[in-house]
């Protein structure tokens, strides 16, 4: 990753002594976890793409089969319904999870894009110009925003948005706002790496050879600050699904259930300021939260395990896929040095 000082000079046209990515790949292939993560991520992408093709006309709405709606007994996993049936929704869970895949991949990718873009750019700039205005602003904003649990802040924002401008409430706003709430953590970790890199020998050499500060920042500081990003990325997935899975709880499903424990099914409902467009919108986190309410509520016990297990596995699989890829890349980068 480190660029050679000679090649960084804007007046020196000589080629970089650094080997190409292909050469490095041939010399030392990425570690095993990278391949596991890549295969997992690739599978998710394929499933998402297939859902786009198969459900292209009804991707945003889960079909409701009245025959599966209460008081019909819940159907567990079988050949006909590999993941069972979610009675409250009246839908096949396999189809629901499949249909939700492109949405969830888009939500996670969108939030992480905003998070990483802002965190990497602002964090690296703050670390490079340590003590400057950008540094002071980034650190102050990060510290202040960090004093509130992120999901509470997000909920307040959405409730406020729902009350003042209901038309703006939706998944795009959710993705943007979540990214804006997450970036300070990323920026702070990147900033520290950039601060240390700024005084490294190869950066000093690059400066001495006449590279402009912007060039040093773009060519050396930003690429070499990717380590903290790779470490933080899998962790930043967790709060996304935490918020989405808690939505049914905020819609009072728990209290509805406890108020009438003999009724083993609940009608799905969206809470105030929910980013999801409708209760029948396919989304893993919402399915998980609802499945937990319905499948694991008092005093039913874990009888209807499929209602929460399969959405949970979908979420965990994505989290681990990203973690494996990130850890693999990071380890590869370390070994390359």
């Amino acid at each position: 990753m480190r660029g050679g000082a000679v090649a960084d000079s804007p007046t020196d046209p000589s080629p970089s002594p650094q080997p190409s990515l292909r050469a490095r790949w041939a010399r030392r292939p990425p570690p095993f976890e990278f391949w596991i993560g890549s295969v997992l991520l690739g599978t998710y992408l394929m499933v998402g793409l297939s859902a786009l093709v198969v459900f292209r006309n009804s991707l945003a709405v889960l079909p409701k089969n009245q025959a599966w709606v209460p008081p019909f007994s819940p159907i567990g996993p079988s050949w006909a319904h590999p993941f069972g049936v979610m009675p409250g929704f009246g839908t096949d869970l396999f189809r629901a999870i499949w249909q939700a895949t492109p949405w969830d991949l888009a939500i996670v990718a969108g939030i992480l894009f905003v998070d990483v873009s802002l965190g990497l750019l602002l964090g690296a700039t703050a670390g490079f110009y340590e003590g400057g205005v950008v540094d002071a602003v980034v650190t102050f904003v990060g510290d202040s925003l960090g004093s509130v649990p992120p999901y509470l802040l997000l909920i307040v924002v959405f409730v406020g948005l729902g009350a003042g401008a209901p038309g703006a409430v939706g998944l795009p706003a959710f993705v943007l706002l979540f990214g804006l709430i997450l970036w300070p953590t990323m920026a702070r970790t990147v900033r520290e790496r950039a601060r240390i890199l700024t005084h490294e020998g190869f950066v000093e050499a690059s400066r001495a050879s006449g590279a402009t500060p912007r060039r040093v920042l773009v060519r050396h500081i930003v690429p070499n600050s990717l380590g903290p990003v790779l470490a933080q990325l899998p962790i930043d997935i967790a709060p996304i699904f935490f918020v989405l899975s808690v939505l049914p709880w905020f819609a009072d499903c728990q209290n509805t259930y406890i108020a009438n424990p003999l009724r083993p099914y609940i009608v799905p409902a969206l809470p105030v300021g929910s980013p999801l467009p409708s209760v029948s919108f396919p989304e893993w986190g919402f399915l998980l939260g609802f499945g937990t309410c319905e499948g694991l509520g008092f005093p039913v016990g874990p009888t209807y395990w499929w209602m929460y297990l399969f959405p949970l596995l979908a979420i965990l699989g994505l989290g681990f896929a990203v973690a494996f890829v990130c850890d693999g890349i990071e380890r590869w980068r370390r070994l390359e040095r």
Partner: protein, 392 residues
Amino acid sequence: MSRHPTNAGGVQNPSGSAVPGASATAQRPGDVRPNAVTGPPPGPRGSRGRGVSGFWTYALRRALLIPVQLGFVLLILYSAANLPATFAKGRPGFLEGFSHFLVNNFNGNWGAPSGRLVGFALVGHTWAQVFAAYIPSSIQMGAFALPIAAALAYPVSLLAGWSPRQWLDTPARYLTLLGALLPVVVVGVLVYTALFFPFLNAFQDIPGSGLIPYPLWPGFIAGYPSWIHEYVTSPTGFPLVDALIHHAWLIAEITFVKTVIQASVVAVAYVAVFFRHARSIVRAARDSAHITGARAIGVSERKLLWRYAAKGVTPTFFLIFALTIPQFLGILFAVQIAFNDTDCFGYLLFVNLGNLPVMDALIFLIAIVVLVWTFVVDLIAVRLDPRGAMAR
């Protein structure tokens, strides 16, 4: 978290991540400044006079920053929660809207601004009364959760960070990632369901719905004792303490078991957050000069870990805890929601979700607690290891 702008940052770890905010202990390559993580520098330490002076200067700077940060949090709350509504109603001036926000949200009369009155006995009550009813139970649970979390995270982080072998570190890393990815509400409900019947058989009570026994508990058939009123115990408000004061041993036992169960869920979920930061600190300490030197003269690995490295990283662990306290509180509230704890702060948040003024006030309160707590823990960490203050 609440550090001076020019000092905030993090301690770099070998895997490239960093501990946010722990910049006071970070070093540049080749820098020979004393460092809380990597241990004592070569040569004599700095004089006491310099250290004390640095400490108070730092304390003053940090203290002055708190009101500014709180002002910023207020501004964020106003902008995020009220600006859309303000704009939709015809764009009054920003200052006018902000002053309305401050008056309406912080007049101390709960529920009055929105007219929606929820929770227990909130009608016309002041902040102090409401907090006195809802906060002690949360503090009690937090007081149990913290030692449990520390007892879990401290040895695991030390061992995983210290061991150069992948067999311990890799599973520990992915297990904690698993813990982080599992939504804590789901974990809470799983534990609640798993323990429901065993708890019922043992105590004729349910493991949730408040820290004191449920109103249908056989011991309450004749009604609550005089020291419990609408889930709130007296005289202290802390259920366990009050039960002990009134010699209600069975209530104390049930309260204790309920608190430990819920605190354990909080602790396990929080360890996942704590671990990834703490491990990197231990890893940095492992490669420090004085540890390498001690290893070279034949000190055993066990002694190096538990006697030298553990001592060196403890102040930084304090800092990590201070920095991750918002996550800790978030987990605590989520567990209280999962267990339907009607006498806890999480439940107060939960039932007021649509009530923006109350939510704003509660979040502002959380911000005060977090910023003050961070400040205090930061000072303790510096006191424990004055080299940190000198480095500043």
